[in-house]
Symmetry: C2
Subunit: 324 residues, 2 copies
């Protein structure tokens, strides 16, 4: 029998999870739909999640003992174990996630913001090993962020620190999932670039296959494919998204002076299309003192799921086990 | 003979210093002009500073032994002991301050950003005692900031973290002291509100005593006096400054989730004129999760000079002495 931590990464669209031992070995991992169960019904979702975890556990050729659970979720609170007002989840208000999921696994259980979990994963298993000051940005349904300073993740006074997606880009701008206007993530995220495409379809006159796609049918991957082929609207959307991301990262550099910034998630998969202009704009807008000092890297855990590994590492930390 | 640390706070206009023992007792303190010596001549300034320090030392009725020096200065680097490209000082480029001042006092000497020094002072002697997460904002010639998370000041990878004054408010906006355009401190600071007054004198038509004052003659204190009397242009300037400060503080809350924010410096002396609307705008723009959680306080060390106390505390820390 092998002791493992169950690492879970709850996202707006998909929830990923896997079993990780204290050496960081991943025994098995899978992904389920976060939106398959009735919208807003957390009990139904956790029942479904538990069933799928047990299915995965049975598929593994070794008997696994779940000794701890680590969960990353948007607006997850490390101190209270609750998800609060997460704009990109269907669960509304304050959800006592740890309390409810302990009905299935009564073991030490920790929750944090999904991007914080990814930052822990990057620090322990990925490209940020040995770094004391770095920033993790996740560009998925929303924009998540985790900030590590002096070697420690910043949870803040109430456990909710690291919500860069909700800094205000434009008062009275685009409405986010919570009804707030002008949040950065309404512009810079997989969803944000899609919204930018539709704004550009209105502003520009160039022909493009994008003019034949509905809002609901459009994906970030389609935008990437078209930009690689030189589509003028897709290229303009990447430029606008990168300009804004680069500018806001230059602000974060002035505050944190990090060694590096890591990008993860759907939009980060666009590679040079997003990394190159983001770096250029960041340097352009950067306060002189910080110019050419800060690297932007893709997460070294992109394919391995940093958040699942990070969440499991958090669980091991909670159990008092030194993680390698 | 009493062992003391010499705490120095170098500002754009004035330099303050004093002698502090390891219990935080201030033996004497004074202020000299930072701009009395020839502009850009760091050697002349340090010679003058040394003379004035010795004059103060002779005035005190006890023999003081300077065992350490702590210095707060704009763009002061904790790791290298240099001031680099400080927009609000006349000393240009990279100034090896610690190396040069050690010619006068060959004792352990530390340098940091003036706002970082103030944050340390607030944490050890002021209103942030017992807080693990807070933000210190100084509103003087520029906008300085010090960020404390998990109980530690954030220096960042290169020692320059905490430059909130140089986040970008408006690309292609007002030029700052370094020639960069649109820095927050060009809008929110004692200098910033003065610039806003002149912009409003152009935009508005109301009569005001401000129409008889030249740019060079106008001070933040005059703007405060007029706003207290209901002058429409002075009131509009406070409203505009507070709106922008409140908005940017709501961004910082989303990142840090601090317990409190402290305001210090010339503009903070305006009291309710700045605190009340800044708090209102901060709450208005705040991401829901953080609403009504974060207090804004005047520095508890306003009259005692937080930066001098903080710089001396840093020196004691460097000497390995636990500060009370």
């Amino acid at each position: 029998m092998k002791n493992v931590a169950l690492g879970i990464d709850i996202g707006g669209t998909n929830t990923k999870f896997g079993f990780v031992d204290q050496d960081g070995y991943l025994y098995g991992e899978t992904s389920i739909s976060t939106v398959k169960t009735p919208p807003g019904d957390i009990d139904a979702f956790l029942k479904y999640l538990h069933e799928e975890v047990e299915i995965l556990r049975r598929q593994i050729n070794e008997e696994l003992q779940i000794v701890g659970v680590g969960i990353g979720a948007p607006n997850g609170n490390y101190f209270t174990g609750t998800i609060e007002y997460a704009p990109n989840l269907t669960f509304r208000g304050i959800v006592p996630l740890v309390k409810l999921f302990k009905l299935y696994y009564n073991v030490p259980m920790v929750l944090t913001n999904d991007a914080n979990a990814a930052a822990i994963g990057e620090m322990i298993y990925g490209g940020a090993r040995g770094m004391k000051n770095f920033i993790m940005i996740t560009l998925g349904t929303g924009l998540g962020s985790g900030f590590v300073a002096n070697g420690d993740l910043i949870y803040g006074n109430d456990g909710f620190a690291g919500e860069m997606g909700h800094i205000l880009h434009k008062p009275e701008g685009r409405t986010c999932g919570l009804g707030r206007k002008g949040c950065l993530e309404s512009y810079v995220s997989a969803t944000g670039i899609k919204r930018t495409i539709f704004s550009l379809l209105a502003e520009m006159t160039e022909e493009s296959p994008l003019r034949d796609v509905s809002f609901n049918a459009l994906t970030a991957a389609m935008i990437t494919d078209l930009a690689l082929k030189g589509d003028p609207i897709a290229c303009a959307a990447f430029d606008e998204t990168s300009r804004l991301l680069g500018q806001k990262l230059s602000d974060m550099v002035a505050i944190f002076s990090p060694e590096a910034i890591f990008l993860l998630g759907g939009l980060a998969k666009a590679g040079d299309l997003i990394f190159k202009p983001t770096k250029e704009y960041m340097e352009k807008y950067m306060f002189q003192v910080f110019r050419n000092k800060v690297k932007i890297f893709p997460s070294a855990l992109e394919d391995k799921n940093a958040a699942v590994l990070g969440a499991s590492a958090l669980a091991w930390k909670e159990l008092g086990v030194h993680v390698h």
